[in-house]
């Protein structure tokens, strides 16, 4: 079955204390080449049946209204992942 992936990140202009904490841990492990770490969320919505434009529109709406809060977060990506045996079901 196809899976729709929704990616949500804290707004770029906001401080991301979780990313900062992970960045601090990397630095303590000697990984000093990473100047910034930001931490977001990835949702995987498995769908029964083909993913058409209507389903994608529905997911886009859910992503804006429930999966993210536009005051503090941005939806940075919505894409469809097909399993090998679903390859024939290309998204619309």
């Amino acid at each position: 079955m196809p899976t729709i992936v929704v990616e949500v990140m804290p707004k770029a202009e906001l401080l991301d204390p979780q990313g900062k904490a992970v960045g601090g841990a990397l630095a303590r492990l000697g990984q000093s080449k990473f100047t910034n770490v930001r931490l977001g969320k990835r949702f995987e919505l498995t769908v029964e049946g083909p993913v058409d434009a209507a389903v994608l529109a529905e997911v886009a709406k859910l992503a804006d209204e429930i999966l993210s809060n536009s005051v503090i977060e941005d939806v940075v990506g919505i894409h469809v992942v097909l399993e090998a045996d679903d390859a024939s079901q290309a998204p619309a």
């Binding site: 804290p10 906001l14 401080l15 204390p17 979780q18 900062k20 904490a21 429930i66 999966l67 809060n69 005051v71 503090i72 977060e73």
Partner: protein, 232 residues
């Protein structure tokens, strides 16, 4: 007066809020998130805790609970609604209050007796305070940083809708030291600190006169009573 306190899966301070309501002289009515029944209460408290384990975002899943449809409708009718901590987060997620709450800027959970200035004493929940009263009530949260767009902040400040502001220190990175805000009408108030934990001598914050004798939080609940009695 009957004040409803809603319990969600993961609420922690619902019974403390009920107790505060009783100490203020009103009847506490336990409400359940999964119903559509406000049981005819005259005011509503959304208590603190970690509803749904703070999954998705703090207060986000609770803000879609069945009873929230009735609470939104009641708030729009002018029924007083107080959101404390996780309840404040629910009010922002339900769009009854603007802005949002994010993880404390220092990354740590904080638990302390917090000084506040009551900057709006005309809301349904603060009308019993003197103008610019300085109070101390407990603050305990991991995600209490209040943020909003520059326009929203200007609107809140310009309309006097910053109800309480942190005094002495900013404990979490909130913009303009904002600890609590109200809607335009003043019936919906949300704040991160916990007035229900400062309502009875012996169990509140320390004061200059005695240990744990602080009861500054009680006035939030008696304010609702004052407003109610003025209407009957």
């Amino acid at each position: 007066m009957r004040i409803g306190v809603v319990t969600f899966p993961g609420s922690l301070d619902d019974r403390d809020a009920q107790r505060a309501v009783r100490l203020a002289g009103a009847s506490a009515v336990a409400l359940w998130h999964g119903t559509h029944d406000l049981e005819g209460v005259d005011a509503i408290v959304l208590p603190g805790g970690f509803s749904y384990g703070d999954y998705l975002r703090c207060g986000a899943i609770a803000s879609h609970s069945p009873i929230m449809a009735e609470i939104i409708e009641a708030a729009e009718r002018g029924v007083p609604v107080l959101g404390i901590c996780n309840g404040f987060q629910m009010l922002t997620e339900a769009h009854l209050l603007p802005g949002g709450l994010i993880r404390n800027d220092h990354g740590n959970f904080i638990c302390r007796d917090q000084g506040l200035r009551v900057e709006n004493n005309s809301t349904a929940w603060t009308n019993g305070f003197a103008a610019n009263a300085e109070i101390t009530i407990p603050l305990k949260n991991g995600e209490g940083g209040f943020i909003a767009s520059a326009e929203t902040i200007a609107e809140l400040e310009g309309e006097g809708r910053v109800v309480v502001r942190y005094l002495g220190m900013n404990p979490n990175g909130s913009i303009n030291d904002i600890a609590g805000i109200s809607n335009q009408r003043g019936n919906v108030v949300g704040l991160m600190p916990h007035p229900e934990h400062a309502v009875e001598e012996g169990f509140g914050p320390d004061t200059a006169s005695a240990m744990r004798s602080g009861t500054d939080g009680l006035t939030f609940f008696t304010s609702a009573l004052i407003g109610f009695l003025a209407t009957v």
